[in-house]
């Protein structure tokens, strides 16, 4: 039997943590990579967040940028360059000193075409070289070939590598370093003994000795292990699990409020999609799309599907994103009268119990979603009845995920789709690949050579303008206008922003859950477990 003891020791001015000073939580899959430049999956992202040291970090709680390895920074040349004053006396986990050469090496590796770094993509604004100049060991200037939107914020994802360490990317500047990895079982991260940060009392951080990421796909098992005390936190809970846990252990659940994620519906507007002509006309009609949006009772989705743990969405900015939200944009009313008026304006009319278009075609279409997602299935059942009130017949088609992706991104053989979008960035520049008509993620009609509609052309211009500007108020004005156009044209029907739900065992201290990923462990260097010792000198 393992008896967990909380012991505070003080030996020669140094304090040592108890052996049980370990935080344990689950990730869904094995990390695909431990190279911070190549991260593009959730598990690798978690490892990078906990081990990587960055120049600038977004404080997930205040939503403000804070200096980490850079004590000061200044963006200039309209977003083309950034100057850093680097922190002195910092060492990598293997003892190698941190200097400007490491920043130069990291930027070079990030932009290396052969490496195809997903993190580097955020910095690619125009063709040409990225140059890093070192005026001294602790002054770095990075210059880009074109303006990079929200340049400083992009460094939140860029973990600095050592230019000289023989341990390559295993030498880290974050609070933890990779200790052990057992494929299919766990990733053990150990405390970085050379981590530079200290708390207000001068004690070395992190407080934890280690973090164990258990690889666990089954969410029910994850919940069971949390209940047994084998896990200390669950970073993301669905509403059903939240309510179940809440009824049994009300003190452990946390609802941090609406997240940045979206649940959306969009129609296929691709010009050469294999659709009957009359359906293409419906889907390309703003009146039709807005009518469908107005008819959907978002409040019922929030109440019935999410048990209140979501917020009706109005547009591409969650209410959690305080700065960029355009409060003038409101969610659809759920009013049958408003929806019918829009449909009549678009040439539709009721004939018997059914809705028909101006040519007498009965309005029926299918909506696909990923099979096995209970939230989506319930949402679709509600939408089905909401649209039935207008005389629209909706066919619900759950498909396995690969088939769904194939249809919406390659064959375009679909009519409409209900899908979730995950959003981890507060800045609208991260949504460039959704709103610009030439982008591959312009999901309703991707990869357009030139904008096919006037409103898409206007969005293109506004997005480029906000992306090219460094003036926050101007950028806000541009993106407010984008939000207004999106609300008017409804290319994507934003249904709800699900709340960020998590569970944290009572023995975990200093938790301040955020709506921005990683919701619960974003301040991992300050988390404590139980009464185990927490401070070192």
């Amino acid at each position: 039997m393992l008896i967990r003891l909380a012991v505070v020791l003080s030996v020669g001015g140094a304090l040592a943590a108890a052996a049980s000073n370990e935080l344990r939580f689950s990730v869904r899959n094995d990390p695909k990579t431990f190279n911070p430049l190549l991260v593009d999956d959730e598990s690798s992202l978690a490892v990078r967040y906990l081990t990587g040291g960055v120049l600038i970090r977004l404080n997930r709680y205040t939503e403000e940028l804070e200096g980490e390895l850079a004590t000061k920074w200044k963006v200039s040349e309209n977003g083309r360059s950034i100057d850093f004053e680097l922190r002195r006396g910092v060492r990598f986990s293997d003892g190698t000193p941190f200097t400007c050469q490491d920043v130069a090496y990291t930027m070079h590796q990030l932009m290396e075409p052969a490496l195809h770094s997903p993190t580097g993509d955020a910095f690619r604004s125009a063709p040409g070289e990225v140059e890093t100049q070192c005026a001294g060991p602790f002054q770095a200037k990075v210059r880009f070939p074109g303006p990079v939107a929200a340049l400083a914020a992009q460094f939140d994802q860029a973990a600095v590598l050592s230019a000289v360490s023989p341990r390559k990317e295993s030498a880290v500047l974050g609070p933890f370093e990779l200790g052990e990895y057992k494929p299919g079982a766990y990733v053990l991260l150990r405390r970085n003994p050379n981590y530079w940060k200290r708390d207000a009392n001068g004690h070395a951080l992190p407080y934890l000795d280690s973090i164990r990421l258990e690889i666990q796909q089954n969410r029910e098992l994850e919940l069971l292990r949390f209940r047994r005390g084998e896990l200390d936190l669950i970073n993301k809970l669905d509403p059903d699990m939240y309510d179940r846990l809440s009824s049994q252990m009300p003190r452990v659940v946390v609802d941090a409020g609406p997240s940045l994620d979206w649940e959306t519906v969009f129609f296929n507007q691709v010009q050469n999609a294999p659709l009957p002509e009359h359906k293409r006309r419906w889907f390309r009609s703003g009146d039709f799309r807005r009518a469908v949006s107005e008819a959907i009772r978002r409040d019922d989705i929030v109440r019935i599907v999410y048990h209140g743990h979501a917020r009706a969405a109005a547009g591409p900015v969650s209410v959690a994103n305080h700065f960029w939200l355009n409060p003038a944009v409101k969610p659809g009313s759920g009013s049958e009268t408003t929806a019918m008026a829009l449909l009549q304006h678009g040439g539709f009319r009721r004939s018997g119990g059914a809705l028909v278009d101006s040519e007498g075609n009965k309005v029926e279409f299918s909506m696909i979603t990923n099979a096995g997602n209970k939230l989506h299935e319930r949402m679709l059942a509600l939408i089905q009845q909401d649209l039935a009130r207008l005389g629209i017949q909706l066919h619900v088609v759950p498909l396995d995920f690969p088939s769904l992706v194939e249809r919406i991104s390659r064959t375009f053989n679909y009519e409409s789709v209900l899908m979730a979008w995950s959003n981890i960035d507060l800045d609208p520049s991260a949504q460039m690949n959704v709103w610009v008509s030439s982008a591959s993620n312009h999901q309703w009609n991707p990869n357009q050579k030139s904008p096919e509609t006037a409103w898409e052309a206007e969005i293109d211009q506004l997005m480029q303008a906000q992306n090219g500007s460094q003036d926050p108020s101007k950028r806000k004005a541009y993106f407010d206008q984008v939000q207004r156009i999106v609300a008017d044209q409804a290319p994507i029907l934003f249904l709800v922003n699900p709340n960020a739900l998590s569970a944290v065992a009572p023995n975990v201290k200093n938790v301040t859950p955020s709506v921005v990923a990683p919701q619960v462990y974003w301040n991992a260097d300050r988390l404590q477990v139980g009464g185990a010792l927490v401070s070192r000198r």
Binding site: D240, R244, S247, Q248, D300, I304, E364, F365, S366, I368, A371, G372, N373, K374, E377, R378, L380, A381, L382, Q384, Q385, H395, V396, V397, P398, L399, D400, S403, N413, Y414, E415
Partner: protein, 269 residues
């Protein structure tokens, strides 16, 4: 056994009759959502309460029974017929044909047919109505379910082919065609019936399993599988035991079918 058989038949008849008379028995349509009464307990208005979307559980159970109880026997009949033809022919012809069919059956049983079901569902036109979609699903189940019964039927046929009366009939110059249709198939009847009755609950459970994967009957059409999915949340089930109604009905129906099967097995040929 004499008493159990009529009871099983009556229970099954009541279940089928109730499902066919769902329109008269239920107060609500299976698709109507009373959104102000979600997850309501049983009442005079909703005899088995409402589900999480406010739909009448009783109406959904009756219509779901119609889907599961009518389509599963149809699929069982199809699979038994295919098995009778393939297994019977293999056993009757013997030799090389028998070896080929046996190898084919082994191969067929080893293939992961779930992927075929996934693929077919993905290939169906998206506007396929739920009733058509579920009918096709059961047809596919029927077409895929012949291999195991075919093995048994082949073995049964071999035994019959070597029996004295068939050897004698063959020696008296009866054509092989007549031998197969007039003398062999009628004597395979008990085996065929047994295979049919075994297949019915198997297909009911297959539909339930497909429902658990989100691939069975699509909204708003109910089925036992879709209703059984709600039982995943056991804490809710403990608080609302009436949610167990589809599971209870499934157990009762499958038990009745098994009782009838045993009766058939014990009946003299």
């Amino acid at each position: 056994m004499k008493l159990k058989q009529p009871i099983a038949l009556v229970v099954l008849a009541v279940a089928v009759a109730a499902s066919l008379g769902a329109g008269w028995l239920a107060h609500h349509s299976y698709a109507d959502q009373s959104r102000e009464f979600i997850s309501a307990p049983p009442s005079a208005e909703f005899w088995l309460g409402t589900d999480e979307l406010g739909r009448d559980r009783f109406a959904r159970l009756l219509y779901g029974t119609r889907v599961s109880l009518l389509l599963a026997p149809a699929a069982a009949l199809l699979s038994t017929l295919i098995a009778a033809l393939i297994g019977g022919a293999a056993g009757f012809l013997g030799g090389r044909w028998e070896r080929i069919v046996t190898a084919g059956v082994d191969l067929f049983l080893s293939l992961p047919w779930l992927f075929l079901l996934l693929a077919v569902r993905a290939l169906l036109p998206l506007n396929t109505p739920p009733v058509t979609s579920v009918t096709i699903t059961f047809l596919l189940l029927g077409c895929l379910g012949w291999a195991a019964p075919a093995r048994i039927i082949r073995a049964g046929t071999r035994t019959l082919v070597n029996s004295d009366y068939l050897v004698q009939a063959s020696a008296s110059g009866i054509s092989r065609w007549r031998l197969f249709w007039r003398h062999l198939l009628p004597n395979l009847r008990p085996i065929l019936l047994a295979q049919f009755w075994i297949s019915v609950p198997v297909f009911i459970l297959s539909e339930a399993n497909l429902g658990l994967l989100g691939l069975g009957v699509s909204e708003p059409l109910p089925s036992w599988g879709a209703m059984l999915r709600e039982l995943e949340n056991y804490s809710t089930v403990l608080r609302n035991p009436w949610m167990l109604a589809p599971a209870v009905l499934l157990v009762v129906v499958v038990s009745c079918l098994q009782l009838l099967l045993r009766t058939e097995e014990s009946a003299p040929c």
